[in-house]
Symmetry: C2
Subunit: 287 residues, 2 copies
């Protein structure tokens, strides 16, 4: 029946973009959500940390009385793998304009016991309730026009070594000044800049920004280091609901020392607003 | 007896500097620490958020197998007041080089129930175990020599309005470029820079850096805003054990928007090393 099929399609359309489909969570009981970590968001074998943060962020946004993550701090404990997971949330405090919650994502050991992967503390609010005042001295990153930037399928292919399923989910166009690493000529600067979108055209929102801040190649590549940069802790501030259209992401590392480095990310929307700021502490690659 | 008195003095000397005395915690049972929030670290009536963080940091450093906070994220829930408090800690994960813990500071309502003030998630390590590699592009903040900077007792008195006991605990010398607010002529820039020490000469360490990142007047003063800037969340990375001597602290706000602002702090030691980085999300003053 044609009508029935259309209705079914419409119903599914809400969740058939890749991001919303793969960050869906199912309420098991109050505060407890089942999830399935998709193999589609992996870098080599590791599940992307921003994707995981978005899953936790979605569960907290459902559990808390406020919808949007204003500040969310994640400590990464053990490596996640594709497959089933459970997210346990807790309301820490509720207030008029902000509420604070905690959430942990667990996966299952072979004997069925839960192994904690990530723990987050977050304060949520309502971005639509904020006043319009903007007094910022921040300016968008200097970035080449998107048509001059390099995507995964372009000339000097800036791909993360190994097979990375996540590259098919994302439309990342790296600024030409930050692709030297892909041809063996890293700039030596701790900078990575790119235009960012979801490959299927799903527009950005507060939740997808949690993915965006941790989706670019690591700055360590442009510092001439190869190998993995595992996140210890990642804190993201969502400052404004993003307008539709491509985002600009700028990531900077200033201090690589003692085997650790920080990555500061800024995300700007198509209306030239600073929509998210994040900082992470990561282990530096040995290479 | 002279010898006995000397011994007693020596014993007390370990805890008679103001910072260690006032951030002391007493083990009540495994994971639970009693504390007393000192009125000596208040700004008007509010207990300083960095002082509170140091208390939580001390309890976690005792509870976890690693001594030093590498990254500690604090969400501030309700205003603390001078008086008794209890800190409850939890080991989240222990690893070879890092361990992760959680802690909450509670105070007591009139009926004796515990009210949570702050909750933190933190990953601890051992700063002495880090390699010496430093590849940083960060440079110390441009700062006037300490003798040209302004302390609480100097000419154009840069004091926080109201009676602030904490000013007697700290030796803060503000850069002349950042004291306009004190004479009604704020620079309009979201910048605050100062030399920092503890007034009684207690040298900096990893724990006292948790105080240092939140001890300067808020950048909002130089943006021409008066009133309070309550912290929602503060994350601090301790990157290096500080050398003895005065610290330099630089705090920057780039984005004041929607009633919130971020404050990014950097702390440099006398050996020109970047010893701590922090970022907080705070509510902007209305004024």
């Amino acid at each position: 029946m044609s009508t029935s099929t259309e209705t079914s399609t419409e119903t599914h359309a809400v969740v058939t973009n890749e991001f919303d489909r793969d960050t869906a969570v199912t309420l098991r009981e109050p505060g407890v959500y089942d999830a399935d970590l998709s193999a589609g968001w992996t870098i080599i074998h590791a599940v992307n940390g921003g994707y995981l943060l978005a899953l936790l962020g979605r569960a907290l946004g459902h559990h808390l009385p406020h919808p949007d993550p204003f500040t969310i701090s994640a400590h990464y404990l053990t490596p996640s793998v594709p497959g089933p997971a459970v997210i346990r949330t807790e309301t820490v405090r509720t207030g008029r304009t902000l509420s604070t919650g905690q959430a942990s994502l667990f996966q299952y050991a072979e004997d069925g016991t839960e192994v904690e992967r990530i723990r987050v503390l977050a304060s949520y609010g309502d971005l639509d309730a904020l006043p319009d005042d903007v007094r910022t001295s921040a300016t968008p990153p200097a970035m080449a026009p998107i048509e001059n930037c390099f995507g995964a399928s372009d000339g000097p292919t800036p791909q993360i070594p190994g097979s990375s399923a996540i590259t098919e989910r994302l439309d990342i166009r790296l600024d030409p000044a930050c692709v030297g690493w892909a041809i063996g000529a890293p700039s030596g600067k701790g900078e990575m800049r790119a235009w960012f979108g979801l490959a299927d055209g799903r527009e950005p929102d507060a939740l997808s920004l949690l993915l965006t801040v941790d989706a670019l190649p690591p700055t360590s590549f442009e510092l001439g280091l190869k190998g993995w940069t595992p996140t210890v802790e990642l804190t993201t501030h969502v400052r404004c609901r993003p307008a539709p259209g491509p985002l600009r992401v700028s990531i900077t590392t200033r201090n690589l020392a003692g085997g650790f480095l920080e990555e500061d990310a800024e995300v700007w929307d198509s209306a030239d607003r600073l929509v998210a700021q994040s900082r992470q502490l990561a282990r530096a690659p040995r290479g």
